[in-house]
């Protein structure tokens, strides 16, 4: 079974792909069939729901809460010891632990993803 942090990563990636689909610059590139059909929208919703169902209920609530608060950037990378959501320097204990467990940034509350 996939770790919950990996499932959160997948949801963040899926949501960011969908966000691109809504952008005019992306739509102009011709990767999407225009106009977008109801079947396509339904298929996307189904895929997203399938992914969400695998995630722990409390984590999902927190994911939705952060998304509502910040608009985007729910799961963020730890880059060179910094949270790439709010750019605060993270305590080394959190950096070490977020490699294997769910950890949030003590400043902005976003989920941390450690890029190994």
């Amino acid at each position: 079974m996939k770790k919950q942090i990996e499932l959160l990563r997948e949801l963040e990636e899926f949501d960011s792909i969908l966000k691109d689909f809504e952008k005019k610059e992306y739509q102009k590139l011709g990767f999407l069939t225009e106009p977008v059909s109801i079947e396509f929208v339904k298929m996307i919703e189904k895929e997203r729901e399938k992914l969400r169902k695998k995630i722990d209920e409390n984590l999902l609530k927190e994911y939705d809460r952060i998304k509502k608060h910040y608009g985007n950037k729910v799961v963020v990378q730890v880059i060179k010891g910094f949270c790439s959501g709010c750019y605060i320097k993270l305590p080394s204990e959190i950096i070490a632990r977020c490699k294997n467990e769910i950890k949030t940034c003590p400043n902005c509350g976003r989920f941390l993803y450690h890029l190994i």
Partner: protein
């Protein structure tokens, strides 16, 4: 913005061996990550499920946003025999531009790059046959020349 300065000879493989979508994506991902990365291949395949990035006339631009990279990454592949990529015109794909960026990239470089590559591909497909050079250095030179025309 210009695309050719983002290309690196070590990330251009003009002799792609795989003939299937998953295999080719694995080869391209290996170039940008320096090793196999099943998770990134999965993300790319998930994007493909939402609609093929095989834009027709032998070209595909597989792309996705992923937390598995920390900056915009690009790889290019060419297969003389062609790859079954489920392209919109159902024809085999020969030239592939892989573009991956983090979900929140600085300066929206990801979408700008995708737009630039799409414009380059339009020029490439104007000719009846895709003429791809033999070496990565020559390939970059060819892209540079195309970009000079479409500035």
């Amino acid at each position: 913005m210009l695309f050719y300065p983002l290309l690196r000879p070590d990330r251009i493989n003009l002799q792609i061996k795989n003939k299937k979508k998953t295999g080719v994506l694995k080869e391209l991902v290996r170039m940008i990550k320096g090793e196999d990365d099943e998770k990134l291949v999965e993300t790319l395949l998930k994007r493909e499920e939402l609609g093929s990035t095989g834009i027709g006339k032998g070209i595909a631009i597989p792309h996705c946003r992923s937390l598995l990279v920390d900056k915009l990454e690009i790889a290019v592949g060419y297969s003389k025999e062609g790859v079954d990529f489920d392209a919109i015109d159902k024809k085999p794909v020969h030239l592939l531009f892989l573009i991956v960026a983090p979900p929140h990239d600085v300066g929206n470089q990801y979408l700008l790059t995708l737009g630039r590559v799409a414009a380059i591909c339009q020029q490439l497909t104007k000719k009846r046959k895709l003429n791809v050079p033999n070496t990565p250095e020559e390939f970059i030179k060819m892209i540079k020349e195309i970009e000079e025309k479409i500035k």
